[in-house]
């Protein structure tokens, strides 16, 4: 019973704040709701027993990505933005796309309506470390190169002309 309460409340929190991210007129509020939605996803990871992913989600998304987005929103925001519409005029076509995709997604999700979890979840940090430094060593090193490239790209794109 506790499991169901946790799942439904976290899902409600995640989806409601995701809707607020998409529909809110004020981008500052949108970015605050993004942090709430990502925290709800972290809670869902915890409900699934993925302890390491839960911690990584809090550290990377809630305290990294959400704060970065908020910073840029406040850097670029203008007071006049609050009076402009934030949704373009093709929202009905987008709604149609989402409706068609929803039918397909629900048909696939129905295939697993009898799959229940077996056994208790166990701590995964040790196994993830073994996997990353053993079988998946090459992808693990490659992803660090991706991060380095992102770092250099961010510095390259944001430098000013006269700093050359």
């Amino acid at each position: 019973m506790l499991e169901q309460i946790v799942f439904y409340s976290l899902s409600l929190l995640t989806l409601a704040s995701a809707l607020a991210v998409v529909l809110h007129r004020n981008t500052v509020h949108s970015s605050l709701f993004l942090g709430l939605s990502l925290a709800g996803v972290a809670g869902l990871f915890a409900a699934l027993g993925a302890d390491f992913i839960f911690a990584a989600q809090i550290m990377v998304y809630v305290s990294g990505v959400a704060v970065l987005v908020m910073f840029v929103v406040m850097l670029l925001g203008r007071a006049s933005d609050l009076h402009l519409r934030q949704i373009n005029e093709r929202w009905m076509a987008a709604l149609l796309v989402c409706g068609v995709a929803a039918v397909g997604l629900f048909k696939i999700a129905r295939l697993h309506s009898a799959t229940v979890a077996t056994g208790a979840p166990r701590p995964s940090t040790h196994d993830i470390g073994r996997l990353f430094l053993g079988e998946w060593l090459v992808p693990f090193e490659l992803i660090s190169l991706v991060l380095l490239a992102a770092l250099l790209g961010a510095v390259f794109f944001t430098r000013t002309e006269n700093a050359r």
Binding site: M1, F7, L15, A18, L19, V21, V22, T27, S30, L34, S37, V41, L44, F45, L48, G49, A50, I53, Q57, Y61, V65, L68, V69, V72, L76, D81, Q86, I87, W91, A93, A94, L95, V97, C98, A102, L105, A109, L111, H112, S113, A114, T115, V116, A117, G119, P121, I128, L131, F132, I143, V146, L147, A149, A150, L151, G153, A154, V155, F157, T158
Partner: protein, 105 residues
């Protein structure tokens, strides 16, 4: 409410989160709003990966490791995206997607 949680519960939540992200990416005028919607889609994919790991292959951690890779790529994407946005804003003085119609604005 008291029926046991199945894989399809998690898939439906992830699917709804993904659809909200798609709707936002298609309709937001603000580039920052589009980037936030893309983050929501990444998170929906991560919920699915972790749920498949828990329900279908509880003996391994492959799904969780893949979710970590997705998380890393998403972080790199948002950093480069926001840096590009700052560079574009300096040249065009706008954050709305429909105004970005010149490659050398």
């Amino acid at each position: 409410m008291t029926a046991p949680l199945t894989l399809s519960h998690y898939m439906i939540v992830a699917g709804l989160l993904f659809l909200i992200g798609v709707f936002g990416a298609l309709t937001r005028r603000n580039i920052i709003g589009i980037l936030m919607s893309i983050e929501l889609m990444f998170n929906a994919a991560n919920i699915n990966l972790v749920a498949f790991d828990r329900f279908l292959h509880p003996e391994g951690v492959t799904g969780q490791a893949l979710a970590l890779f997705v998380m890393t790529v998403a972080a790199a994407e948002i950093v480069v995206g926001l840096a590009l946005l700052l560079a574009i804003y300096r040249g065009t003085d706008t954050v709305y997607a429909e105004d970005f119609n010149l490659l050398k604005g």
